[in-house]
């Protein structure tokens, strides 16, 4: 447990991916094998069943420390975490132990079905032999989630580095079905329980943004134009009777999208499709904010399935007949695709349509209608192009529509990092809501160095309050903020959140009373739903 406590501490202290991976590698090098399995389980959301309610933990802690309930509440408000509040409130431990993590998990598991007195005795005796940080983790094992910023991808990278195994293989292994009580670490990362030969994806082919006039690309007849969809890029892999769905973040997301599982019966073995995971209803693409309700969920409710049905718009075929198909020209790949799944008329899987145009002007006009079908512009792909690995200039271009914009006023500023560490470069923006200002976005980039210096001087002169590294500033500077989308959000005070906000320009010509209102944004939100 001490070793695990140290790992948690290291992961919490750094925001740098490399430090976190180093801490994980170090842990996987030295920790007990059974513990490692549990760490992977905990970090990927395979929580052991909750043997005790958090309310009971709180009640017992109040009881043995004789803390009035209101004072417990005050403490909790300051600490912000129940497990930690309890850990800090308890008197120092009288005994010590260095039980391993898996031992604690197993003992907690054994408590299931026991009466409250037995549970209480066990918990109190455990508290009395753990240090504060260990107690915190122990409480988390019972009641909470480890929100420590370790993504599946990061965990997999650390395991790959530590074991020298292929990361896609490990991703497949840990995303598969396994039982942490039974599997060994070796079996787990080597994927004994799954056939990792079946799942591996290809690197995605990515496009650069088109910054020139499309006419410069030559004859439009040499190009295939498609809508650029705003979803999650994904690959559907079917090999040896198994189906896998990968996201662009190289995460295996098969379980998240049951609507696509029927493809296991549709696709031949040895087929890999590239496409976009989207919220789709009656063949119409829904907004990204609708799709968002379905992302990163461990379980999906009936309501979520109904409200945000998933579809897959296929762009390309990368493997066909168990052969790498990426060297074939796009025109051939497209033909093959149409023969293969062109007939899936009533299904949520369809080939992303090609836009037929005879001139660049015509295409430019059509591009202006992108938003009405929840597309974010047009993709241009050379008909004779291969499917490249990664980003390569020349054959694929994304020709996006102009972003949404809003005029907002800066109300908080924070210093940047790296080269800009001595300047206030990170700003929070607000729009008007009646008499009040309500924050809508935080943005880091978009100003020139000269402008940054100017804003910096303003912040230094007009800081009202400071909260740690953050300065509250006089709401005076107006900026035009560009963003790609808008979604409802319970987490933000404004009730909505902007996607990819960034500073388009500094509106020195505008005063703070000329900025947009929250109502303007609400209307925009309604119009996109």
């Amino acid at each position: 447990m001490k070793r695990f406590a140290k790992l948690i501490q290291q992961l919490e202290l750094s925001n740098k991916t490399n430090d976190k991976i180093a801490a994980l590698v170090d842990y996987f090098n030295y920790a007990d094998d059974k513990d490692k399995v549990w760490v992977i389980a905990l970090f990927t959301g395979k929580k052991p069943k909750r043997p005790i309610k958090s309310a009971l933990l709180k009640y017992w802690a109040i009881d043995i420390t004789q803390t009035p309930e209101w004072l417990f509440a005050e403490s909790y408000a300051n600490v912000g975490d129940l497990s930690e509040t309890i850990a800090l409130l308890l008197p120092p431990a009288e005994n010590t132990s260095d039980f391993q993590l898996h031992k604690w998990v197993e003992d907690l598991h054994d408590l299931e079905g026991k009466d409250d007195e037995t549970k209480k005795d066990f918990i109190l005796s455990a508290w009395n032999k753990l240090e504060t940080q260990e107690r915190f983790i122990f409480n988390k094992l019972i009641s909470g989630n480890f929100r420590i910023g370790v993504s599946n991808k990061m965990l997999v990278n650390a395991l790959a580095k530590q074991s020298s195994l292929d990361s896609a293989q490990i991703m497949h292994s840990i995303m598969g079905k396994w039982n942490p009580y039974e599997i060994t670490f070796h079996e787990l990362i080597n994927g004994i329980h799954v056939n990792t030969d079946n799942s591996w994806p290809y690197p995605f082919c990515l496009a650069y943004a088109l910054e020139q006039e499309p006419e410069k690309l030559g004859d439009i007849a040499e190009w295939q134009a498609e809508w650029k969809w705003d979803g999650i890029r994904g690959q559907i892999v079917k090999r040896n009777g198994e189906l896998f769905i990968w996201s662009r973040g190289e995460e295996l997301v098969t379980e998240q999208f049951p609507e696509l599982h029927f493809m296991i019966d549709v696709l031949l073995d040895g087929v890999v499709l590239d496409g976009e995971i989207l919220a789709v209803q009656d063949k119409q693409v829904l907004s990204f904010s609708t799709l968002q309700q379905r992302l990163n969920r461990k379980t999906i409710s009936k309501k979520q399935l109904d409200d945000a049905p998933i579809g897959f718009f296929v762009y390309d075929i990368l493997e066909y007949g168990a052969k790498d198909f990426r060297e074939e020209p796009l025109s051939i790949r497209r033909n093959t695709l149409e023969k293969l799944i062109g007939g899936l008329d009533e299904s949520p899987v369809m080939i992303s349509p090609v836009i037929n145009c005879s001139s660049w002007e015509e295409l430019a006009d059509l591009r202006q209608t992108s938003r009405s079908i929840n597309s974010e512009g047009i993709m241009l792909k050379k008909l004779n192009s291969h499917y490249h690995s990664g980003r390569k200039r020349g054959d694929w271009w994304k020709w996006k529509i102009n972003p949404y914009t809003v005029d907002a006023v800066m109300i908080y500023a924070q210093k940047g990092s790296g080269r800009r560490a001595n300047f206030f470069t990170d700003y929070t923006f607000a729009v008007r809501d009646g008499e009040n200002l309500v924050t809508i976005a935080k943005a880091y980039s978009g100003l020139t160095d000269k402008e940054i210096k100017e804003v910096n001087a303003f912040v230094n002169r007009n800081a009202i309050e400071k909260f740690g590294p953050v300065r509250t500033v006089k709401p005076e500077l107006v900026f035009e903020i560009a963003f790609e989308g808008i979604a409802e959000s319970k987490r933000h005070k404004a009730g909505l959140a902007l996607r990819f906000p960034r500073i388009l320009r500094w509106r020195k010509d505008k005063k703070a009373d000329e900025i947009n209102t929250l109502e303007d944004l609400r209307q925009l939100l309604q119009s996109t739903l």
């Binding site: 300051n78 800090l88 001595n422 740690g468």
Partner: protein
Amino acid sequence: MALIEFTKRGIYCKQGDFYVDPWWPVDYAVTTHGHSDHVRFGNKYYLCHTLTKPIIKRRISEDLNVETLEYGESITRNGVNISFFPAGHIIGSAQVRLEYKGEICVISGDYKIEDDGITTPFEAVKCHSFVSESTFGLPVYKWQKQEIVFNGIKNWVNDNINQQKTSVLIAYSLGKAQRLIKNLAGNTPIYVHNSIANLNEVIIEAGVKLPKTIRITPETTKDELQKGIVIVPPAMRDSRWIKNLSHPVTGICSGWMQVRAHRRWQSADAGFALSDHADWPGLMEAITATGAEKVYVTHGFTAAFSRFLNDEGIEAAEVLTRFGQEDDEENKVDLAGQNEN
């Protein structure tokens, strides 16, 4: 009639016609210690502990009119007996005991109970009324013994040196810095920022023994610093100077570091819960030991702490003061958004 009242200029003793730690200029300012939220420019006369005198002269002005007292010594002003007792907060910090016609009031300033090895340890003084801070007046704030914290810091430093990283500790230049120097001194050389070196000089001149430290100058090489311990004030925290060191890692020494949310809010690489303020058990111990019938709670978690005291049968009232609201001039960056002077 009460011995003290809380006015807009600060804590005022009407019978003696003087203030304790006033925040607006007055004729006579009794001063508990040298942190800038307790002593300000512009008073005609200052009364403070002998060791505080050179500190405030250096930090505020050489021209101050300062009278001094040793711990246990007293003077009488307009019939009010004023004496000083150790507060254990920082070097020279004093609790001010006022006595008038048998009525005793103690204004503790900031204090801590644990002997930090360099400050004269806190001494409880019997009184009728007691003015207490409550910077850490919640039961989640319980300090570990300082040996444990310092061992943690030493291990961190050793790990850093082995990994070719430079250990930078962020600490207030008056108080925390000297405590670190005293307790970390050993085989690893300690390098200090100018502001700390200047104060060290003053403190050593006043007769306090401090282990040897090295003032950082433009000539100090990155390589030397990497093999040592670097101590800088909070204002330096996000500075380019630190970023230019050889693989710098920063550690914050503050009571707020007890709580994860505060540690994570900081962009530091490590947080050590080391405070010059009393923790929750310390506050309770001190207040009980004074036997005071009435407790005035000044800065910190005043509402929660005074409510708890009242529930325990000790009459307590929250008082709004400016203590803990302003940091010293060189320490412009807060820790955890909250001041701890």
